[in-house]
Symmetry: C2
Amino acid sequence: MKARVRLPDRKSRVTLTEVAELAGVSEITVSRVLRSKGPIAEATRDRVMEAVRAVGYVPNKIAGSLASADSNLFGVVLPSLSNIVFPEVLQGIHAGLARTGIQPVVGVTDYNLETEEALVRSLLAWKPAAMIITGSEHTAATRKMLVESGIRIAELMDIDPVPIDIAVGLSHRQAGYDTGKHLIARGYRRFGYAGLDPRSDIRARIRFEGLVAALSDAGLSLQDKVLADVPSSTLVGSATTARLLAENPNLDVVVYPNDDMAVGGVFHCMGAGISVPENLAIFGFNGLDIGRALPKPLSTVRSNRFRIGQTAVEQILETSIRPDRPTVVNTGYEIFEGATA
Amino acid sequence: MKARVRLPDRKSRVTLTEVAELAGVSEITVSRVLRSKGPIAEATRDRVMEAVRAVGYVPNKIAGSLASADSNLFGVVLPSLSNIVFPEVLQGIHAGLARTGIQPVVGVTDYNLETEEALVRSLLAWKPAAMIITGSEHTAATRKMLVESGIRIAELMDIDPVPIDIAVGLSHRQAGYDTGKHLIARGYRRFGYAGLDPRSDIRARIRFEGLVAALSDAGLSLQDKVLADVPSSTLVGSATTARLLAENPNLDVVVYPNDDMAVGGVFHCMGAGISVPENLAIFGFNGLDIGRALPKPLSTVRSNRFRIGQTAVEQILETSIRPDRPTVVNTGYEIFEGATA
DNA sequence: TTCTGATATGACAGCGCTAACATAATTCAA
DNA sequence: TTGAATTATGTTAGCGCTGTCATATCAGAA
């Protein structure tokens, strides 16, 4: 006799076994019906489906994944959710995942690489089918885990460094450089920069370096910069602009790490009676809706966050085997002239 | 002899067994070390941890969850990610989940109850420890699944209807009503509304009803409303405002379903030379950063999205057993006077 | 009639881990 | 010294499902 020790009440009482008994078939047949796998007689399928409905069966993917060694989960690691950019990437990921049955498991690092490492470790424990992570800067341990996981890895936003497997995004150095070139071509000469702590947003720092390089190549240099050591926001954009202009009333253009900050700059000017772009030009980054909606649309660089997320998923779904050589997808950017620079 | 049929190469080759062999202990001991469960000799722990590092072991939570019947996953169902409100809720959820080891699995419904049903079904298959879902309006099947899952269920944003288990949010009817009362008290009489298709955002509709009720109680009525059948955005706010004012040049206040739209209204006025609030008052909902940063801060109602997410998690973690009677947490709202109304 | 090849279903083992219950080793009071 | 209590580790049997390899059934061909 088989003495079964019953474990204390488990959450799901209804298992394949019960459905199978009710339908008068074996468990594996129920399993096959539910996964539409293998040949099933029409009558059997109907009986099974009826039983499923009758007992309110909800399959247990945990057990399923363990048995079949694939998980239908994607790990997603984002630095932040308060910066609208990343929810937009997440939207793209969702769009790419639609009708695949794959669910994203989301983690947030707060721009901290140690947190990222812990997060990656714990996400990998779910044996995700793939991992989508922001940026290419990781701790050695993170990188090792990602490499050795064997699953597909997409590193988003930046395509300058060589990725582990897939990179989707744009060249931030180039974007920064082009910003500088564009503004110089439009006649601006006295550049200011109102930004954030360069340690938090690496890509903003790289764009900044590109900008400085463009100025330098044109024989110019940045007149001044003000950096705030707080999260990005429109309010901070106003405040840093105020500080920058207080010290440098003669600037003719201010560049920002993103549109939130730049819109804050515009608002400051409105309040201070500085006419944009006649007295001061303003230039952002991202191409957010809010900038476009301003009475004078914000001049900026359009990154394509949604497309980055979506493309990453598409690339991953292309093949489940990691190719020998990394894949780099440039989703590009466009300078949007707007009316503020 | 035990004839083992080896399955085709699985993703993770390193299992507890290998770690155990290398450390010269049994599997369960390794398991206990990794989960810090039960008494373990210092020396054993060290040997095990060394072995774990040596082979680069990543635990398999799928197997662990199956064995222990708990998952350390929370299902999170949001209607949208393009509306900044929901990423903020998600942030709150993340904050509440920090250092619990619980990961959220996120699904997006696009405000569609059928999609929601499919999503809930597929999230429940991961046997999450709890489910966080937006709103209280679900299909009958969704509700049934949630009720019968036995896990804790938090329904966010709205506390007017009776929840399945936990509701966290605010009374949108009351918020709408208070908006009306507040504006009437400030002397406004000729009300317009520039909103969206009421089918998509149920809570906006309820606020609208509250507003209308307040007007009615004061012997007033809404002069006109314009509804756009597209997703909310600042640009749409400008456009609907333009349409509304074209037909009703005599309005003295326009109320919006959210701040994005309201900011669009402000921008329209700036462009059209309408001075706010002297010629036209503008009133939003949410209390977003962007509204606060305007040269004239937007008058609005502050909902507390972050706190809603965080509180929901706290409530769920309170106890894993669903109490007999539903819990309702009112995270409240505050009317923010601003400078536009 | 026998055989072939589809079509339909089932038996069985095992995915990698943990709960529950041993068992072994150690400590310490009586 | 002995037994009880305490600490440390091991054995066993699953968790609920799916892969693999039978087995059974039934056309239609030879």
